[in-house]
Symmetry: C2
Subunit: 176 residues, 2 copies
DNA sequence: TATGAAACAGCATAAGT
DNA sequence: ACTTATGCTGTTTCATA
């Protein structure tokens, strides 16, 4: 039996999920233990398997298998550090609401993908409703924000209008 | 020498930052290595110190000290698992824009704090602009979403109007 | 399917250069 | 800031219930 190079299954195959590609929409049955695992990892993604197992009351080996299953099924999409944009040089956050011209809607998803790659862009939400999408962006200053909106949004001929909402506070909820 | 119970410094003192409390607004100088560390951890929060060090091209001990500094300074706010709401039983996401009555604005922050604790609430954004805040929420179904808006938002006498935007796609950007 | 033990590998941590 | 060295912990497999 060839020995695979020890792949820490909790850490590998993380990321690489843009959120834009269509997912097979499987239904996953999650029991109470699974929910506790998800809650614990949502709160602290760096919990070691041992500590995690103890926290939810199962054996480490069982815990490892459960978490691997959750990852393989796609319930656990990844593990990310939460960086404070203000302290990382981007103290000015905004949510820019954008409406497109009707003809440009076919290229919308590709456009969003490009936007998500731009520096400072934190989230992009494709919407149904009065606006077509929201861009959550963090900028170094007011000029930077203005430049972002003008150069990356308004400059696009498909963009009909933008509405910039400054963010005064952002509370990231604990999820459940 | 008393042996402190091995505290993995990368994992301790994580969480407990709601985002609502006022921060001392210190300026942090980040060099290129720091930015690479943040980017790497934002992409995969479970990278072990060794692997992280190798990835950014510094020694493990240096890496440990750097990351600890980033955490102590508040640049690294925490490490969170990214759970797919759809596969976890909440396939319907929305961003609800809310405007308050003028008189109710003084209690706004406390209100947001309460909202953030509700099941399904993922983000709350306090805004300046046409709306007072946005609530990013994930609901089990259309009824659940409706109930959330009515019971937790419209029911509040301070709420003047709500505008629910369904989310078709959510792209979480790679941060930088 | 979950558990527990055992073995191994790999990591955090603290010296010293 | 790097290198080295050392306990020690976490991961992993396998046998068992």
């Amino acid at each position: 039996m060839e020995k695979a190079p020890r792949s820490n299954d909790l850490r590998t195959r993380v990321g690489g999920q843009s959120g834009l590609e269509r997912r097979p929409l499987v239904h996953v049955r999650l029991d109470d233990v699974d929910h506790r695992l998800l809650a614990a990892l949502a709160e602290d993604a760096r919990l070691a398997n041992n500590a995690l197992a103890q926290k939810v009351g199962i054996a480490p080996s069982t815990c490892l298998a459960r978490v691997r299953r959750l990852r393989d099924e796609g319930v656990l999409r990844g593990f990310h550090a939460d960086v404070d944009p203000a302290l990382a040089g981007r103290p000015l956050q905004a949510i820019v609401a954008v409406r497109m011209h009707g003809a440009a809607r076919s290229r919308l998803k590709a456009f969003l993908r490009e936007l998500a790659e731009l520096p400072g862009v934190m989230n992009v939400y494709l919407l149904g409703g009065a606006h077509d999408f929201f861009v959550h962006v963090a900028a170094p200053d007011s000029d930077g924000l203005n430049d972002f909106v003008i150069e990356n949004l308004s400059a696009n001929p498909g963009v009909a209008l933008t509405e910039t909402n400054l963010i005064f506070e952002h509370v990231r909820a604990s999820w459940y």
